[in-house]
Subunit: 196 residues, 2 copies
DNA sequence: GTGTGCATGTAAGGAGTTACATGATTGC
DNA sequence: GCAATCATGTAACTCCTTACATGCACAC
């Protein structure tokens, strides 16, 4: 069984202080929802695999009749995580999004539907941006102030700013499409927003 | 068998003029590599499924002893594609990237290694941006001029601009980390670049 | 007493990848 | 003659999701 990015994700979350599978899921839903969504059905088997590999040890943390496991990262686990963090062969960005795929084929739509589609994509960017600004960034900033752990907040800022940029870009595209429709029904391809 | 985004991708590429599975793969490698990468092992079975569903018809286009299939989108296929394009329930953005995950856990690294990591991520953004500007955008622009099909070019511009933005953002972060390391070895969390 | 949240798991299946397997044609 | 490209597929495997299954604890 290979050690995949998901394994490192679990390992990293444990080192950040989440002790149980359930706790990892809770923490992820708040701060990593947009960057590394995960499910309990993936976390639990992964924890078992990490234990088999000796990267974590499992302690029993049951309260009365309610079972609870608490995991601890071993020295080997810490080393493994560190060497993964320092890996120098960064893979290519890949970014599979259904909305972008739709936009790619948008020439098949009527001009009005094209505008609708762009508007929906823009709204989606705006929602994600707002969610990050309102709920995730404050948490990240608080974490940085309390514990000095700053990168979770950095990621939240990064995401919010990128989504804000995408939102603006799509707003420009939307306006262009609207103008094209109004004034020149058979307009030729106008320059794209922020063309380089 | 459900009609997934990948099915629509194949369907859309056929309507754009790619006639065979191999041709779809070639076209994808050029223009959609960063947005919807795919493999032949996915394309061929998908084409068979689309045929079973009556969304495409297969013609034999063999040249002598070399077999070649040529697919044509049916009326039903066109309708299915259009109704997918016009769907109004846009799913949440999700964006799973190993590099971003590393950055999330970067607090575990020494300051110098943090800078190295950010630099690698920035370079990766820069490479993707350049590849899009130099190779993909010209193709998209040419397509728009020759056939009026403009959105493939729009996607290329969008991608290039977003990656350029991310590159700049990471450059700012890198500079901040460098300054923090030089002047204040025990610096508290500095404000993130372009903080909102 | 009932719903919400805590807590841990398994089963089934879809989506996507790499590796394997085969063979024709074209250009050097 | 040989390599690269055209062309089509299958097998095995990983990764990830949804749905299923179970049960405790606490607040209202």
């Amino acid at each position: 069984m290979k050690t995949s990015p998901s394994s490192f994700f679990i390992l990293g979350m444990l080192q950040f202080g989440a002790t149980s599978g359930y706790a990892i899921k809770k923490a992820t839903d708040v701060s990593m929802r947009y960057f590394w969504p995960t499910s309990l059905a993936q976390i639990y088997p992964e924890l078992h695999r990490l234990e088999e590999q000796g990267l974590v040890v499992r302690h029993d943390d049951s309260h009365g009749a309610r079972t609870r496991a608490s995991y601890e990262v071993t020295e080997k686990g810490r080393e493994t995580l560190l060497s993964w963090l320092a890996e120098t062969d960064e893979e290519q960005f890949r970014f599979r999004d259904e909305g972008v795929l739709r936009l790619y084929f948008a020439d098949a739509l009527a001009p009005d539907d094209q505008i609708q589609l762009v508007r929906r994509l823009r709204n989606r960017c705006a929602e994600t941006k707002s969610e990050l600004r309102e709920n995730v960034i404050p948490l990240g900033d608080a974490l940085a102030e309390m514990t000095g752990t700053r990168f979770p907040g950095t990621i939240a800022h990064f995401g919010a700013d990128v989504f804000a940029f995408a939102e603006e870009w799509l707003a420009n595209l939307e306006q262009e499409l609207e103008e094209g429709e109004q004034s020149e029904p058979n307009a030729e391809a106008a320059p794209d927003p922020e063309a380089s």
